[in-house]
Structures are given as C-alpha cells and as structure tokens.
Point group: none
Chain length 208, copies 4
C-alpha cells in the first residue's frame, strides 16, 4: 500500500497483524456505533493497538473507513449461471447483500459525502471500491459476447460510455433502494430491475 519497496529499510518493521486487526475493529465499531459515533480511540482499543499506530498508517477517519469498507467488496464474484440475465441477477444480489450489512450502510455513504470536498478521498474511493465493482460489469459483458448474447462492440469509446452508464444505474439503484428507500433489495426486486435494465439496453442499442 504505502511502501512498494520490498527492501524494508531499517528499524523495526510495521506489524502486518496490526493492519488486519485495525480494519476488523473498524468494521466492528461501524456495526455497533455507526459512522458518526465511531472514535479512533475506540477502534484502537478494540484492535489492541495505540492510537498513534493508527495515525501512522491512515490520515484520518475517512481513509481508515474507506479501506475497512473496501475489503467488504473483495468477496464480490461474477457467477457463471448460464445466461446474462442470471449472471447479472446474481451479482446484483451479492452487491445488495453487502450493502445490507450495517458496516457498509453506515460507512459508505458517509465517506462518499466527505469525498465531495476532498479529491484525494474521492480518488481513494474510486480505486479501492468503485473500480473493484466496475470490473465485474466489463467481465460480464465480455462473457456475454463470448456466449453470443451480446454483439461485439465496434466503437471502444462508446463501449466505455455504456459500461459507465450501466454501472451508475446498477450501483445507484441498489444503493438508493437500500439506503434511501430503506427497502430490501431482495430477489423479486432484483428480477424486476434486471429485466428493465436488460430490455432497455437491448432496445436502446438497436435504436442508435
């Protein structure tokens, strides 16, 4: 993360166990207390670590929570369920399941809110969280093209725009359903949403 030089220079090296413990403690604190009542001192105590160790590795609450929440999205996988619709439904359900967890709910929107005034933080969110998700969109399209469900996209720029649009629609809809409407993004909702999305994309494709 912070030092790409594998040749650790001198002095006592940083404890790698501490990183793991700190991020886990951060998620536990998010579950119990939520973002606004989360204290760095409390995280440090839960992790069995001094507050200074925290500040040595992260610039502040925001950066720490981004990394802690980002790990939640590591388990996202593109399932191979035989058809594009089923694959999408599967991945959207996984995404919804993660968002339903309180550590994600509490932390994610808060750091997004902070990122509106902090470009470095937004970049960190993009790298740690967003890109990890967007990759699934690209993989899913490639697999669908292999299967012959989608035609090859001749214009790469147009392809990127479409991928961005899909991503904003999918992520945005699930987030809004979960956090703002506070309704569960369950199987039924995901099926309805996926059908609208796929039909819309197919139709919009041939129109243009």
């Amino acid at each position: 993360m912070q030092s790409r030089t594998p040749a650790a220079r001198s002095g006592r090296p940083r404890s790698t166990a501490a990183d793991t413990a700190i991020l886990a403690a951060t998620r536990a604190a998010l579950v119990e207390l939520g973002w606004s009542k989360l204290t760095l001192q409390d995280v440090a105590t839960r992790a069995g670590v001094a507050k200074t160790t925290l500040y040595r590795r992260w610039a502040g609450k925001n950066e720490l929570v981004v990394d802690a929440v980002a790990e939640l999205f590591d388990e996202l996988r593109l399932p191979d369920l035989g058809s594009l619709a089923a694959d999408i439904e599967g991945v959207v359900l996984q995404f919804a399941a993660i968002l339903a967890r309180p550590e994600a709910k509490s932390g994610l929107m808060a750091v997004v809110a902070e990122s509106t005034r902090d470009d470095a933080l937004r970049e960190r969110i993009r790298c740690s969280i967003v890109e990890r998700q967007k990759r699934l969109v690209l993989e899913g399209r490639a697999r669908a093209q292999t299967r012959g469900e989608l035609p090859a996209e001749p214009d790469p720029e147009q392809a990127a725009r479409t991928a961005d649009l899909i991503f904003d629609v999918v992520a945005g809809a699930v987030v809004h359903r979960t956090l703002v409407s506070a309704e569960p993004a369950d199987g039924e909702w995901v099926r309805s949403f996926t059908r609208v999305l796929l039909v819309g994309l197919a139709g919009a494709e041939q129109d243009s």
Copy 2:
C-alpha cells in the same frame, strides 16, 4: 413546522424571519465548508442569531441540514414538453442540476448516511425530500396515461411497486453519476439514460 397550534399562547412569538435566515445561512455554510466542517455556532453567526435560537427550533445539525437541503428541491417542477420522454428528460435534468450544487452535494449524502442509524431522521428525510420527488413520478405517469402514451394500470399495488422501482432507478443513477463517479449528468447522459429506462419499462411491461 413543529408547533401546529396556531393559537400562539402568550409571550413573545418566535421570529419568522429567523427561520429563513438560518436555513439560508446553513446552505451558505454548506457551500463554503461542507458538512463535516459546518458548525452550528457558525450558522448562528451568519444568520445573526444566537445558538440557543437554533436549538430551540431544531434538534441538531442533522435536522437543520435536512430542512435546509429540502428547500432546494421545492423548485422541482414537472415540465410539459409534449412527450413522456421529453418530460422525463426535463425533470431528470432539473434533478441533476440541483444535485450539482455544492450545498446539496455536501449535505444530502451526509444526512442519508446518518439516517441509517436514526429512524426519526430517515422519516424526516423521506417526508421532506423523497416524497417531494416521488410525487413527480406519479404525476408524470398520470399525464402520460392521459396522453395515451401509457396504458392504465389495472393493479394499484403493482403500480406502486413500479413507481418505486422507477424512482430508485432514476434518483439512484443520477446521484451515483454525480457524487460517486463525479461526472456531470449532462444532456447527453440524460438522453442515453432516459432511453434505456423507457425502453426497459415498456418492454418489461409487455413481458409480465
């Protein structure tokens, strides 16, 4: 807002001008400082008001910001541009324009984040902000049905589910585009999005 008793009991009544000044000051502070650095003392000073006056009317930072941001959405209107597609594009553009303003960006996501752990706050957001937007979806559908662009919906429960889905998709996509992807929801994007949405809804309708 808080006292429905029009029969003001006795003593000096509350200054109505103060409310206006406070909400305006809150928005100004949001623009300059953002959510996390906004101080109630600072808002009070900008509004030329004592801090106590603030606490006499709002329970805290969250409630104050909800009301301040809610006023931004008062100007949302469903335009009559002749077709369903044009109407939707128009209203989505308006919504995107509001979200692009820094006072909305800074404040909205923050209170949504807080609302994940505060049911009263979520209810306040729903009443003050969300319902105000969802009404446009219903109005738009009614007008389209009048025009004959959409068939009358026989099942009212199914109609409500569809309206909720539309609302989550529209609001979620615009918010995600604006705040997470940090790209402008401009005319081109809105046209692409609207086409996908309308085609998808139409197609999904027939299938079911």
Copy 3:
C-alpha cells in the same frame, strides 16, 4: 483578577465558586502527585469542573500553579513581638512553615524554573508571590525605625538596594535550606541565621 469592570457585560457570568474550587484542587493535586505528574484533567475532575473551564481562565499549568501557590503566601503576617530580631525570626519561621508544605515545595521551584524562559510568567510570579513577601521587609524596617532600632535611611535608592539584598538573602537562604539541603528550617536554624543577618546588616551599615 481578569476583569476589573464590575459591570459584567452580557452572557452568563463566570462562576466564582469555580475559581476557588480549582485552586484548592490544584493544591491538593500538588500534594498528592507533585508538579510533574499533575494533570490539568485531574485538577478539573477534582474541582468538579470541565477542562475547558480551566483553559478559559488560565493559559496553562504554569499560570494555574502560580496562582494556587500564591494563595499560600496570603497568610504571611508581620508579627509584633517587641524587637526587630524577634519580628524577623517570626516572619522567617512563617515563611519556612509555608515552604515546608508539599504543595509549595512541589510547585514553587518548578514555576521558577519555567520562568527562566518565560518573561510573562516571571512577571506573574513577581506580582503574585514575590511582592507579597517583599512588602514584609519594608514594613519590618519601617516599624524598626519607629522603634528607634534602625536609623532613618537618608538615601531612598540605597534603601531600596538594601531591602532587595535582605530579601534575596532571607528568601534564598530559607528556600535553599528547605529544598536543596532538605533540612528543616526550624527555630534553632532561624535564630542562627537571623543573628548573622542582623549583625551583618548593622556592621555593614557603619562601614559604608
């Protein structure tokens, strides 16, 4: 202390009881913990006061301790025991008794040490502590001149120099005996010291 204007302007006035409680708590903490382990948070807790209240009234540990210790010297009185020698012995014994108390021992030298690098602090010490003591020297000499034990001093500048010398010798000797040599400045020692001082002053007077 800080505002001589009796016309308290506006806002809630400062609690006068707090000052008393804080200074007493400071002395108690000095007794138990000594200067270097004394914590402002601990003082605040003992006084039943918030830490912020402390910082609102004193700039830091040094200033607080100066005021707390200064009150100890309020009880110094010039006794009227009939002769210059007896009066001096009496006041030196009082001074030694105060210095023997742990709250004075711990605090006094520490703030003097700090004052070597902080002119404002030195001035505060001079006003609050030193001048209060030096006044006794002047009173004692005036009384002795009234009694006819000492001749009237014709040169006022020379008189001031002598008073300063007396003060440095008396205070310095008692402090050094108590804190550095760590021996009690008891009656015997005080008698020996006083005799040397008075004989020396009388003799030096004639010589010049």
Copy 4:
C-alpha cells in the same frame, strides 16, 4: 557511571565518546529549548546517537540533566586572592557567572523541583552538584584559619553547622538574586553581600 566493572565483559564495549557528546548535546538543548521543551529524542539526534543508547546510560530526563549541569560546576575553583573577603568574593562571582548561563538557569531549578518528590534524584544532585560546591566553603575556611583570619573551631559539630549555614546563605542568595529577582549578581552586589556575610559571621561568632 553505572557499570563499575572495568573488565568489559564481552561484546562491543560502550562508546566513551558518546557520553561526552550526549552531555554536551543536553546542554546545547537546554540553552535553545529550556527544560520543559527539551526532548530526549532531540538530545539523541544532536549527539548523533540513538534514543536507546541514552536510556541504556541514564534512567530518564532528570538524571541526564543533573549530570549535564553538574559538569558546569567542575570549573569552580577557590581563588587565592590574599584575603578571606577577596577569596569569597571571587568564588561567589564564579558561582554567579555559572548560574547566569542559560543551561544552568533552565536546568538547575527544574531538577531541584523534581527532587522534592524523588529521593534518589535529590541524592544524585547532592553528590554531583551540592557537595562539589560545599567543599569550597570548607577549603576557604581552612585557608583562612591558616592565614590567621579565622580562629580554629574547637567544636567540630558546631563547625559543620556553621558551614551548612554559610553554604545555604551564599548559594541561596545568589540563586534567588539570579533566578527569582532576575537581577545580575554583579561585582557591586557581590561586594555588598560578602560584607554583610563576613561581618555577620564574625559578630555572631563572638556572641555565642
């Protein structure tokens, strides 16, 4: 200092140059920063030494500063100026000159203050600093007796008491003049003080 075994046991022996460098660095830091802002890390850096090396040789800040300041008093010598009065004036002037140096001012009172709650520290101060000074009093008296300026003291216990008194008066007066009154102990002041002291001692002697 702490390891008296001259037969260095095994492994790398301790660098003797380091001690010198550390004590010099401590004095330099005292001059620049004063006691309270002096940092062991800063001393180590100035001395080109690791912090661990420091802690291997001294128990803490207090002990280090005592040793650093003690070296300043090594240069005190009893001059032979022909008469008791001149000798005393000379040694008092030397003492005053050392106390006027900022590294002494800053450090000395601070460790004395600490010593009020730390017996081991007081003992260290007595051995390293006080005894070194008190020896001069004894030497001076012996020389004066050789010269015939002072009678031989028959009672050794009384002699010790008198020496202690002299020492407390001299050291105390100079310290108080320099640190508390913050006035220079210059030639004129020293002459006045010495005259009072000698006359007093002579007079008190014959009285008893």
